[in-house]
């Protein structure tokens, strides 16, 4: 039996631009280790056809991930996942993360989720992201 390939999901009705949805979804797979170094990504053309978006949208998402050091995206060779050294945490990015997390935690608390459950979910998620 062959293992099922990891999948990404975008919502055309979302206000979030498609390019960001694609880059975010792929980044989750990369951080979780579902796409390992050496793995080839689909061609820009094939992924654009499957997602129903323009070629440039997928190409831009690949460029963003290549700029972050996740992909080696050379013309004619397709995009390949590369080994990426973990960069030192940036203070302003941590502040930004904390702000966004505070909003999300407050929202879930107001919807009745217990603090213990929130902490457990966050821990499980952080530990599941191997890279």
């Amino acid at each position: 039996m062959t293992a099922r390939a990891p999948s990404i999901r975008i919502d055309p009705a979302s206000r979030v631009p498609a390019v960001r949805q694609i880059a975010d979804s792929l980044r989750v797979l990369l951080v979780e280790g579902e796409l390992e170094p050496g793995a080839s990504l689909p061609s820009v053309r094939r992924l654009a056809i499957e997602l129903g978006v323009h070629f440039n949208t997928v190409a831009e998402a690949y460029r963003q991930l290549a700029a972050e050091g996740w992909l080696d995206s050379k013309r004619g060779r397709g995009a390949v996942v590369v080994e990426r050294p973990i960069p030192p945490a940036n203070h302003s990015r941590i502040e930004d993360f904390r702000g966004r997390l505070r909003t999300l935690v407050a929202q879930m608390r107001s919807e009745g989720m217990s603090t213990g459950r929130i902490a457990a979910e966050l821990r499980a998620m952080a530990e599941g992201m191997t890279r």
Binding site: L29, L35, L47
Partner: protein
């Protein structure tokens, strides 16, 4: 006899038009994306009933007119009646399309795709697409071997009354012309099948349509081989006219059954990019072929420049046919 043959062809196209609302996925009705069970509800049944009422009435009137036409006017009737049928069905379809748009499901939902770089391999049976060329080649070899038996002058076209109205001479173009044109058409369908395979989204219907395209190729191969062999075997014209239905009916039935299988999501094309439900134009979609909404099969994304190249290729094939078969 020819009147009966014309009636049979007319009834066949009429049956296809009557079945049109069923030749789509359950989530599509009159080229509008609707909830899966919509067609079983009051509005859905009413739309199908109204459409079929008009198409059925025109079909009945057409058959009566064809059967009652005197021999002198049968040619005109054979040209005008199918035209009226198509215009009436097209108008009735568009009327229901416009009416159902207020029930359309505008949001196709999120799209989930596998991140895989696995190559796009054609199914093994794609090689069957070479069969029609073998049929045409075999017919050419047979004609070459029996060249002396071919009459100096033979009919190549018959009028609506069944009487020949155009002849060809025993020349390379006259004898092999139908085979060359048949090969051109079959080659065009190979190009279309490959373009549809590599230029559409992965789905089960893509596999079904590849099989359907190969079936059409065989139909063309057999049809043009029969036309080419006609001078030797005097195959009755009605056989040549009716034979394509022998391919189309089972192929359509199989394709319709496969398309309506549960659990198959419709192509997630935005509603606003469909013009009158039949023309898809979406510059933000990289796809070349999308599932049709008004019936079985695929249609172009006309915003993709490759679609115009294929339309141009089809025009070139048809134009060459005028030259080859003239």
């Amino acid at each position: 006899m020819m009147q009966l043959v014309l009636c049979a062809v007319y009834l066949f196209t009429g049956a296809l038009l009557l079945a049109l609302p069923n030749l789509t996925r359950r989530g599509i009705l009159f080229a509008v994306r609707v909830p899966e069970n919509f067609r079983d509800g009051r509005e859905g049944r009413r739309a199908i009933g109204e459409y079929r009422g008009i198409v059925g009435a025109v079909l009945l009137a057409g058959v009566t007119a064809l059967l009652l036409s005197p021999p002198a006017t049968i040619g005109i009737a054979a040209a005008v009646i199918p035209l009226v049928q198509l215009v009436a069905a097209g108008t009735a379809f568009y009327r229901q399309h416009k009416r159902l748009r207020r029930f359309s499901v505008r949001d196709a939902g999120p799209r989930q795709v596998e991140v895989t770089s696995a190559p796009e391999r054609l199914p093994w049976y794609a090689w069957l697409g070479a069969g029609p060329f073998a049929i045409l080649l075999a017919a050419a070899l047979f004609l070459n071997a029996n060249w002396e038996r071919i009459p100096e002058r033979f009919p190549v076209h018959w009028g609506a009354t069944g009487q020949p109205d155009r002849w060809a001479e025993r020349s390379v173009r006259g004898v092999y012309g139908p085979l060359i044109f048949g090969a051109e058409l079959a080659a065009f369908f190979v190009v279309m099948a490959l373009a549809a395979w590599y230029g559409s989204r992965r789905s089960r219907s893509r596999i079904t349509m590849l099989g359907f395209t190969i079936a059409i190729q065989y139909m063309l191969g057999v049809l043009f081989a029969m036309i080419a062999l006609q001078p030797l075997f005097q195959i009755p014209v009605w056989v040549i006219v009716i034979a394509p239905m022998g391919f189309l009916v089972p192929a359509l039935l199989i394709a319709a059954r496969k398309m309506s299988e549960p659990g198959q999501a419709a192509d997630p094309t935005p509603e606003d990019c469909w013009k009158a439900g039949i023309i898809y134009y979406n510059p933000d979609d990289a796809v070349l072929f999308v599932e049709r909404r008004e019936g079985l099969g695929y249609t172009f994304n006309f915003a993709n420049p490759a679609s115009w190249a294929l339309v141009g290729l089809l025009a070139a094939v048809i134009l060459s046919g005028f030259f080859i078969l003239a």
